[in-house]
């Protein structure tokens, strides 16, 4: 019995000594999202990849496989791929399910709108030159009531860079 008590004490002591709290090491590095640039985008998206990503960008939900297959056939049936993509994009823009930022947001928070649009479509931040050009362009068109985020989204969706990853 005595031996048993001693063994139990030793086991308890070992268990207690093993349970040490992990020490968190903080190197004081600020966490930040990582975005690439456009230099390494050299693989073109297939028609199905393109429209799957596009519908996710515009509707915040993926298309059905039937819709993607149908769209793929339509793209193949036209010689100018960027043109037919533009028509398909404007077809999407006629849908009441497309999710777009408001014009007010584009005008009032232009810098943020430009950054978010680059990240949304190109998965990268704009360079300073790109940001400056877009801010100036949006400001220059602020008085044109037809100039809407829809047109900016269409330009990004129909751009060459959006066709590559």
């Amino acid at each position: 019995m005595r031996i048993f008590k001693t063994l139990l004490s030793v086991l308890f002591l070992m268990l207690f000594l093993q349970c040490t709290k992990n020490k968190n090491t903080n190197y004081e590095i600020v966490e930040t999202a990582s975005y690439g640039d456009n230099l390494n985008k050299d693989k073109d998206k297939t028609n199905i990849e393109f429209h799957s990503i596009l519908s996710t960008n515009l509707f915040q939900k993926p298309s059905s496989i039937n819709e993607l297959t149908r769209t793929d056939r339509v793209i193949q049936s036209c010689g100018d791929k960027t043109l037919i993509n533009e028509v398909i994009i404007s077809n999407y823009m006629n849908s009441n399910q497309v999710i777009l930022p408001s014009r007010r947001r584009m005008i009032d928070s232009t810098e943020r709108f430009v950054e978010e649009t680059y990240i949304r479509f190109f998965i990268r931040r704009p360079t300073q030159a790109e940001k400056t050009w877009f801010i100036n362009f949006i400001n220059a068109n602020a008085s044109n009531p037809s100039f809407r985020p829809e047109l900016v989204y269409t330009a990004f969706s129909a751009s060459d860079e959006y066709m590559f990853y």
Binding site: N38, K41, D42, D44, R70, T71, R73, V74, Q76, S77, C78, G79, D80, K81, T82, L83, I84, E86, V87, I88, S90, N91, M93, N94, E130, W133, F134, F137, N141, N144, S146, F147, L151, V152, T154, A155, F156, A158, S159, D160, E161, M163, F164
Partner: protein, 445 residues
């Protein structure tokens, strides 16, 4: 100024003033190397594989099904009386035997009477893609794989590079997106390629149920208020990306051309809904493709339009259907020629060329159809026997060149013929990428 300097500057100025007016947007210095014979070319790939015996030789069932019944079922194209018995090549009115009703002749004068027929030519390939490739590129097709763009430049690239035409001046209307047909609007040749490719539609898809769902609800943006800023942004983005030439996924139209094509797409859906599209009286299949080609002609008045047909290829398993498809294709061709004459900008200024990509076998396969008639495949020596023709200004009328015993011409001649018609034949020859045996058909006469 010193005399030597004066002479040098004067010579440079003179040379500059001579050369500068001829620099084309394409980069070519000289627009034309021969006087054009016509302003427009419509090139019909009359196809899917026509057996020489059943078509131009007008033997109907006599040389295929062991019935002694001859006759001409291509009577818009060729002179000759139609069959008088075993009629199965027409349409089928309700409750009547299959193909019993021939389609009335649509042309007042056959294409043979109006133009020149090459009665016995040689195809380059006994297969569809090889055959189409040889018709489009004017070259032999050794080493050409499926599912890749042609190795050698197409008729569109020659037209755009040497003729200085814009993208909407050249069109390829295909009947399918299968069989690599959508890849035939441009080659992958490094000196030509998509930069000079032609526009392409496969209307049964673009304007069929798939296209209707994906395209018909597209917004038409205001050209200045909406499209202009949109294209400015797109062009800025594209300039920042610098896509490599070899990576272009398709041909490129200018912003103005893109706007025009978008309007064309929207209007075509409207015209389709209101029954305003110019269709042959008996349409469906290849006839419908021809109808959309006519719509493209009406709107764009292109310098070069190529249209592909293929229903005739049903001959593999249905000889009756093959006869009907051939008869309908002839009807559609007659309609197209008539329609060209109804477009003021193209009337009397257009040469239409027609040729199949291949023929069909001498011997039948074992498949029989509803009339117990045997089907025919393609691939043997008889498949290389084809006929072709052309009609329009500067084409001799009522002329038959060659015969069964005297073959004249190869299908690759058509590329050089089109180059001669549009005025850049020597440029194409100098490029050195066409079949060494090819000649302009005008030189074969």
């Amino acid at each position: 100024m010193k005399r030597r300097e004066f002479v040098k500057k004067t010579a440079a100025l003179t040379a500059g003033s001579l050369v500068i007016p001829y620099i084309l947007p394409s980069g070519s210095l000289f627009a034309q190397t021969n006087a054009p014979l016509a302003e427009h070319v419509v090139y019909v790939l009359f196809g899917g594989g026509l057996r020489q015996q059943d078509s131009i030789l007008q033997r109907y069932l006599a040389d295929s099904q062991n019935f002694n019944v001859g006759g001409n079922i291509l009577y818009n194209m060729l002179e000759g009386a139609p069959p008088t018995s075993k009629i199965a090549y027409g349409t089928t009115p309700a409750g009547q035997p299959d193909g019993i009703q021939p389609i009335p002749k649509i042309l007042s004068q056959t294409l043979q009477k109006q133009g020149t027929i090459f009665a016995e030519m040689r195809a380059i390939s006994g297969g569809h893609y090889g055959g189409l490739n040889s018709l489009i590129t004017g070259s032999r097709v050794e080493g050409q794989g499926l599912k890749v763009r042609p190795i050698n430049p197409t008729v569109f690239e020659y037209a755009r590079r040497f003729g200085g035409f814009k993208a909407t001046d050249t069109w390829f209307i295909g009947n399918t997106i299968g069989n690599s047909v959508p890849l035939l609007n441009s080659s992958k040749h490094p000196d030509f390629g998509l930069t000079y490719g032609g526009n392409f539609f496969a209307p049964n898809i673009t304007f069929g149920s798939d296209g209707y769902a994906a395209l018909s609800n597209a917004k038409i943006y205001h050209p200045q208020e909406e499209l202009e800023p949109m294209y400015k942004m797109k062009n800025f983005l594209d300039n920042s990306f610098n896509i490599k030439k070899g990576d272009m996924p398709g041909i490129r139209n200018t912003d103005a051309e893109r706007t025009q094509i978008k309007e064309f797409i929207a209007n075509t859906f409207k015209n389709q809904a209101s029954g305003q599209l110019p269709m042959p009286p008996v349409s469906g299949g290849d006839g419908t493709t021809i109808g959309y080609a006519a719509e493209v002609l009406k709107v764009f008045k292109p310098k070069l339009l190529v249209v592909n047909m293929s229903n005739i290829d049903g001959c593999h398993g249905n000889f009756t259907g093959y006869l009907q498809a051939m008869h309908r294709a002839d009807h559609a061709l007659g309609f197209l020629w008539n329609y060209i004459q109804s477009i003021p900008e193209m009337k009397d200024k257009t040469i239409m060329c027609f040729v199949p990509e291949c023929g069909r076998n001498l011997k039948h396969n074992p498949i029989i159809d509803q009339n117990d008639w045997y089907g025919y495949d393609h691939g043997d020596a008889n498949s290389l026997r084809v006929f072709g023709g052309m009609v329009g200004p500067n084409v001799q009328s009522n002329l038959m060149v060659g015969s069964e015993s005297n073959p004249i011409g190869v299908v690759t001649d058509f590329n050089l013929t089109i180059a001669e018609i549009l005025g850049y034949k020597s440029d194409v020859m100098d490029a050195g990428l066409i079949d060494g045996n090819a000649k302009s058909l005008f030189d074969r006469i």
